[in-house]
């Protein structure tokens, strides 16, 4: 039975989440040097287009088809067979589309690890393999009836599926492709901070659809997810601002990075925690991710735009915080604080497996693509910048 209110709401949420992908493009594009601005935006659009097709061909079915041993979905919905205008509350087609925009966004976040040095042709091949072999199984585990769901792991809107997976995959990809030329020596300051903030704003805005829409209904749970999302974002922004202020100046890139850290951390928890729990979750996420970023810089790792520090580590923190702060009155499950330490244990197992799987499988895929066709542009192309080298375009003529 189709509910028109829920359908209207999820249609809008789907569109909101779609806007997050170009939002990531603008966010990342502003953070790189000007000669690679178009490249970062283009990678986001390529990720979205690529996954949109992969998703309807086989991705949706692998994620949400009938469970095979808790690991992957069957191919019963391949080419959208049996996915129609009917459904439970919302049309099956709409559920498919809502999940599709998540998958596209996730691949766009992974581009952080290869910023300013990836060959488009290799990214297309890598992206198809990655979304099929990493994203789809993870989506199945959490939401498609896989082992994590059977175990009782809580992931409301994608802490493991979207954030831990993209963050640790970006790290693996960065290790395979290697550092940018001149990393650590040359200045690589962001070329356009207002564009970073605009991209961040689109992410924050789209995240309301991401989290509230994950209720899959226009109801109180959606309202709770909406409210905790904003609280955690604000809390994360202020925490990062304060931490950066103590160490020097409260840069605006840090403020929006803190907001995203808060958003990442509340994502798995949005349907399980109270609005007041979102304050410590967001604030702690801001501090954890800021610390992870400093650690990444100290280690000399060129995971260029900090998907690992913010999405990876923020995702881990959020998944664990869900096991701590969950309360039965909101999502039907209690966490550690409400007398159910077992939930935290389940969350730890879920996190550990997702970290290992996404990092390990991505590393192998990246190695294979690198050996087969080379992941990286030539030194000369990297020097000129990918806007000209890959697209024949530039921000300034």
């Amino acid at each position: 039975m189709i509910d028109s209110g829920a359908t209207a709401f999820i249609l809008v949420c789907t569109a909101l989440v779609m806007l997050m992908t170009p939002g990531v493009g603008l966010f990342y594009g502003g953070l790189v040097r000007r000669k690679n601005f178009i490249s970062m935006l283009a990678l986001a659009f390529i990720a979205f287009a690529l996954v949109s097709i992969q998703w309807v061909v086989c991705g949706y079915s692998l994620s949400f088809g009938a469970d095979i041993n808790g690991l992957i979905g069957s191919l019963e919905y391949a080419f959208l067979q049996g996915v129609g205008m009917d459904g439970d509350g919302i049309p099956d087609l709409l559920f498919m589309a809502f999940q599709m925009v998540f998958a596209g966004l996730t691949l766009a976040i992974v581009t952080s690890g290869v910023a300013e040095r990836i060959k488009i042709s290799s990214f297309v091949v890598f992206g198809l393999l990655w979304t099929t072999l990493v994203y789809d199984p993870l989506a199945h585990w959490a939401w498609g009836g896989g082992w994590a769901a059977q175990l009782g792991a809580l992931d409301f809107a994608g802490g493991t599926v979207v954030h831990i997976s993209s963050g640790f995959s970006a790290l693996a990809l960065a290790l395979v492709i290697g550092k940018r030329l001149g990393f650590g020596g040359h200045g690589m300051e962001p070329n356009n901070i207002p564009m970073v903030l605009l991209g961040g704003a689109l992410l924050w805005f789209g995240w309301f659809g991401f989290n509230a829409g994950s209720a899959l209904a226009a109801d109180g749970l959606a309202a709770n997810a909406f409210v905790v999302t904003n609280i955690a974002a604000a809390s994360g922004a202020l925490a990062w601002l304060c931490a950066a202020w103590v160490r020097g100046r409260p840069g605006s890139v840090g403020i929006i990075s803190g907001a995203i850290a808060g958003l990442v951390a509340i994502t798995p928890a949005a349907g399980f925690v109270t609005p007041m729990a979102a304050i410590p979750i967001g604030a702690a996420a801001g501090l954890v991710c800021y610390g992870a970023l400093l650690f990444r810089v100290r280690q000399g790792l060129d995971e260029s735009l900090d998907a690992w520090a913010i999405h990876g580590m923020g995702g881990i923190f959020g998944a664990l915080a869900t096991g701590v702060f969950a309360v039965a009155a909101i999502g039907g499950v209690d966490g550690l604080l409400y007398g159910n330490p077992g939930q935290l244990l389940i969350q730890i197992v879920d996190v550990a497996v997702v970290v290992a799987y996404s990092f390990g499988v991505t590393y192998v895929i990246a190695k294979v693509v690198d050996l087969a066709m080379g992941l990286r542009v030539t030194e000369e192309e990297e020097y000129v910048g990918l806007d000209i080298a890959q697209h024949g375009e530039s921000v300034r003529v």
């Binding site: 000669k35 001149g182 040359h186 000369e380 000129v384």
Partner: protein
């Protein structure tokens, strides 16, 4: 007085500026420019086809300095702006006829 104009790689600018600062040279006017040298830019090759990149982004630093400082400053820019590969830039030294400070109308202040 002389005008020292250095055109350097954008990525080397921070090192050049820091070295000049360490030597007490603070005054400079900096512009982002596009340019090319004897190689006529860079030629990228894709599957047999050549794509010329005619103009490459550079940073131009203009400094008006005392005659006695010119050699030292040129040396600092050369030492800190060099990668050894084509495209490291050029340094031009020009005579300066006069300087007027806008704030005070003072002519020829003895400073760089």
């Amino acid at each position: 007085m002389k005008m020292v104009t250095a055109v350097v790689r954008p990525e080397m600018f921070d090192a050049v500026r820091a070295a000049l600062e360490a030597d007490g040279i603070y005054g400079m006017t900096v512009s982002e420019v596009m340019g090319r040298g004897a190689q006529k830019g860079i030629a990228l090759r894709f599957r047999g086809k050549t794509m010329p990149v005619e103009l490459i982004p550079k940073v131009k630093i203009d400094m008006v300095v005392r005659d006695a400082d010119v050699e030292r400053i040129v040396g600092i820019v050369r030492a800190n702006g060099r990668t050894g590969r084509p495209g490291d830039g050029r340094i031009f030294v020009l005579p300066v006829e006069s300087i007027c400070r806008v704030r005070t109308d003072q002519e020829d202040p003895e400073e760089g």
